[in-house]
Symmetry: C2
Subunit: 228 residues, 2 copies
């Protein structure tokens, strides 16, 4: 196993059979020792965070694969806290695709003149560049096409898959009495088929969820979702 | 004449015949006493700035009207430094539409990982909300449609007109050996016909122009363009 990338919350290894292995860590992103899923720095380490993230990701990704929504997920190993995935290449240096069901966070900071806090949004999709140095700037479909990151045809697929996946997660959360406000996804091109597939993870840290009007912390959210 | 709006660089009066009059002032936007067309505060007053702005705007708008590109321009009065315009309503609280021919400024600050300084861009169009409090945030076509600011059909017209007008200005500047890097336009709906028309102004402060690789200050640019 060859270490190919050391990430903030996961390390990536290349396997001998051509697949890759994601090693989930207990490190979580945050600022000044406070857990903040949107932060670009590792803030602290929480025992069990890596395992909870892996369990939630494998739960969603295996269900999505069953439904014919392509993901990079192959198998999970809970004991080793690893996930076996297909090889995929990211768009440019990587994109974050956000789907919003409620007006909160950076959406409200930008568009507060036209929206009220907590207002319903119709699975609104936005894309940002993964670029810590430039604070993950938002980018339009035209911008992505012009800079050669994504064609208009690929953008249409990305947007449609984002809505489908986000609405699926929303429905899964609703079964537990949870309300999904927004979620952040990552996509790539399958190295073999070139198909656009869901990569990375779906965990508590990738979404904002509320229960009875109260924000649910990522680890608590994972506990609620994975409870029988 | 009834004063209906006091702007940073222009005041707006309602005329008795249903048209409006823009009174150009010598105030220019800036920060700490330095002229900065992108700033949201009035920085200083420069004698002749209002007249230069009016002359350049009436030059461009009358030419555009002749070519069948609709603008709010009716007539200019150089002695009174006023411009008579059609009544128009803005989209939401107003939009700024930027057309870029070179990668500089905020484009480069956001997308510097994918573009080099001064790189050619193919008349790339971006929209920002006019919102001083929220630093004029960029917004996508989908965002504009979702927030009820502009339909997809109107966006297509806005984008096409922006490219046409910007390329016309680019060609006019080129006649004087000037290179247009980017330009900021404003549009509205004609109050009578509901047609999308160019409003506000086209002056040195709305664009970045270079000559032999040197940035040309707005007032200097207006002098060069309006010289016989």
């Amino acid at each position: 196993m060859e270490l190919v990338y050391k990430g903030k919350t996961k390390d990536v290894y290349k396997l001998e059979d051509g697949f890759y292995s994601l090693q989930f860590k207990d490190d979580v992103t945050g600022t000044d020792g406070v857990f903040d899923p949107g932060a670009n720095t590792v803030g602290l380490s929480i025992e069990g965070a890596g395992l909870a993230c892996l369990r939630m990701t494998s739960y969603f990704y295996s269900k999505l694969n069953e439904q014919g929504v392509p993901t990079h997920f192959v198998a999970a190993n809970v004991l080793e806290k690893t996930m076996k995935v297909r090889k995929a290449t990211v768009f440019g240096n990587g994109l974050e695709v956000i789907c919003r069901f409620k007006a909160v966070g950076s959406f409200l900071r930008r568009y507060g003149a036209y929206a009220t806090e907590g207002q319903d949004l119709p699975a609104f999709v936005e894309v940002t560049l993964k670029d810590d140095e430039r604070n993950d700037p938002p980018i339009s479909e035209d911008g992505l096409a012009m800079l050669g990151i994504l064609t208009h045809e690929e953008y249409a697929v990305l947007k449609q898959r984002t809505i489908e996946i986000s609405q699926f997660v929303q429905a899964e959360l609703a079964k537990k009495g949870l309300e999904l406000y927004d979620i952040k996804l990552e996509f790539g091109r399958d190295a073999k088929t070139n198909e656009i597939i869901l990569i990375d993870e779906i965990s508590g840290g990738n979404m904002r969820a509320y229960k009875d009007g109260q924000y649910i912390e990522p680890l608590k959210l994972e506990q609620i979702l994975l409870a029988d």
